[in-house]
Amino acid sequence: MKYLILKHYRGGPAPVVDYGTMDTWTPEEVDAHVQFMRDFAARLEETGEFVEGQALSPEGAFVRYDGEGRPPVTDGPFAETKDLIAGWMVIDVDSWDRAVQLAGELSAAPGPGGKPIHEWLEVRPFLAEPPTVTE
């Protein structure tokens, strides 16, 4: 079963720990955090559970159709108050429980003072292909 682990720049439930933006940490704390993320993905590759991961720029815009012969309408940059996705990891695991366990581990990435940041991560199951055998 595939799950999407979504990371947000902002939005979601209120943060448990106020860890600030990364540029307010020390360079060593930044390095430790980046290394943790790399190691986490490498470990999932080894267990055969990693599918892919991508990071998103905070820039961009909402876009919509505006009628025949007219250019699309854009709405951006994103408002400071809006939920903003920072990136994702797709995992292929045996159960929801395993997905939750892994997201929990990822949320323990180190922040200031090397302490876990307790970041809220969104975990979403993929809608799969219908099974061949249905009864």
């Binding site: 933006t21 990364m22 540029d23 020390t26």
Partner: protein, 381 residues
């Protein structure tokens, strides 16, 4: 089996099929199939004459495909089952393939893919893996590109400028999947330089070699980006630097300066400095002036401001930014650096953080975040 030796044969074999009457698109497909078969069977059963094997196998594939197509259309087949003996191979074949695959009517991404397949001899799977797209997507991109150039004569001089642009793009794509695209770009540019003798081709080759020489020192532990000034220069590949400099000097001596030679000259001046402090920034600024005159590029103007900042001090560097579009990628990073050098740490920290938000790659973003963190720590002390 030496896979690169096999790949080098690909453009020549396509040329043979085309001269025997196959159209480019079918010939290229047939050679790709023969290549995949060769990769599969040669390790256990290497042929005595690899090129003859490829020509025969590809020709049979071409005839099979033409037959299938003919019967689908209910037409007589006009091609012979055995390859006729064509005229002696012309060395121009490969050069024409470069021009065709990088034809100015093709989008850059298609030209890159087609060049890697038809001139580079890579498989669709390898090209797809290097670009992190599904193989079916890459196959489609290549066949659309081939349809777009179908019917173009193979024997006309092409646009060397677009060929160089495509090779430059391949080089910048670096390393993905099991193929080293930077090394592949160097191989293809080296081959092109031997075919044309144009100073700008030599300039591009020199530029690639000089950058490639620094590759090992560009990333630190955990994939961290190491800026030029902090690189361990003992890890630079002196052989590649010497080769790049020699190629560049020979090109410059011909007195037909172009943008790649000017860029290579800047890279050579960096490579020539034993330490960052010994860099000849005054000469680098002069080369940026040449480059700006040749291209008028805003990105060159931005990079020139950094060099001016090193040669004449950060305030001169900031003044050189006058008129440069602040929307350019790396604009905030450049201003952050210049303001830090000028002693305005609070502004530098803000700008580094802004630059991190505007970064276009993860290593660059992490590097700029670390720079912001470093300056903020200085401010706390």
């Amino acid at each position: 089996m030496n896979e690169s030796l096999l790949r080098e044969l690909v453009p020549a074999v396509i040329g043979v099929l085309v001269r025997r009457g196959a159209d480019f698109a079918s010939a290229e497909d047939a050679v790709q199939e023969a290549l995949i078969r060769a990769l599969d069977t040669w390790p256990a059963d290497p042929p005595r004459d690899p090129k003859a094997w490829l020509v025969t196998t590809a020709w049979h594939r071409f005839v099979d495909a033409a037959r299938a197509e003919a019967s689908r259309r209910g037409r007589e087949l006009a091609v012979q089952a055995e390859p006729p003996s064509g005229p002696a191979p012309a060395t121009d074949d490969t050069l024409r393939l470069y021009f065709l695959c990088a034809h100015p009517t093709l989008p850059h991404s298609s030209a890159v893919a087609l060049t890697l397949r038809a001139v580079g001899g890579l498989t669709t799977r390898q090209i797809a893996a290097a670009h992190l797209v599904p193989e079916a997507t890459m196959a489609q991109r290549i066949s659309r590109a081939k349809r777009r150039i179908a019917g173009l004569p193979l024997d006309q001089p092409g646009d060397l400028g677009t060929v160089l642009r495509v090779l430059y793009l391949v080089f910048n794509e670096g390393y993905g999947g099991d193929v080293d695209l930077a090394a592949e770009a160097i191989r293809l540019t080296r081959q092109l330089a031997a075919l044309t003798g144009e100073p700008e081709v030599a300039g591009l080759l020199a530029l690639m070699l000089l950058h490639h020489a620094r590759r090992a020192s560009r990333t630190g532990p955990g994939g961290r980006l190491v800026p030029l000034a902090e690189q361990d220069r003992s890890r630079w590949d002196t052989g590649k630097i010497a080769e790049g400099v020699a190629i560049l000097q020979a090109a410059l001596a011909r007195d037909r300066l172009g943008e790649y030679q000017a860029q290579a000259a800047i890279a050579a001046l960096h490579a020539d400095a034993r330490s960052a402090a010994e860099t000849d920034w005054v000469q680098i600024v002069e080369w940026y002036d040449e480059l700006l005159r040749l291209t008028g590029s805003p990105v060159v103007r931005l990079n020139r401001a950094v060099a001016v900042g090193e040669a004449d001090g950060p305030h001169a560097g900031l003044a050189a930014l006058d008129g440069v579009d602040p929307g350019l990628p790396r604009y905030a990073a450049v201003t952050a650096y210049l303001h830090e050098r000028a002693g305005d740490l609070p502004l530098a920290a803000e700008l580094y953080a802004e630059a991190a938000r505007a970064a276009t790659s993860v290593p660059e973003r992490d590097h700029l975040t670390r720079q912001a963190a470093r300056v903020r720590r200085l401010l706390r002390q």
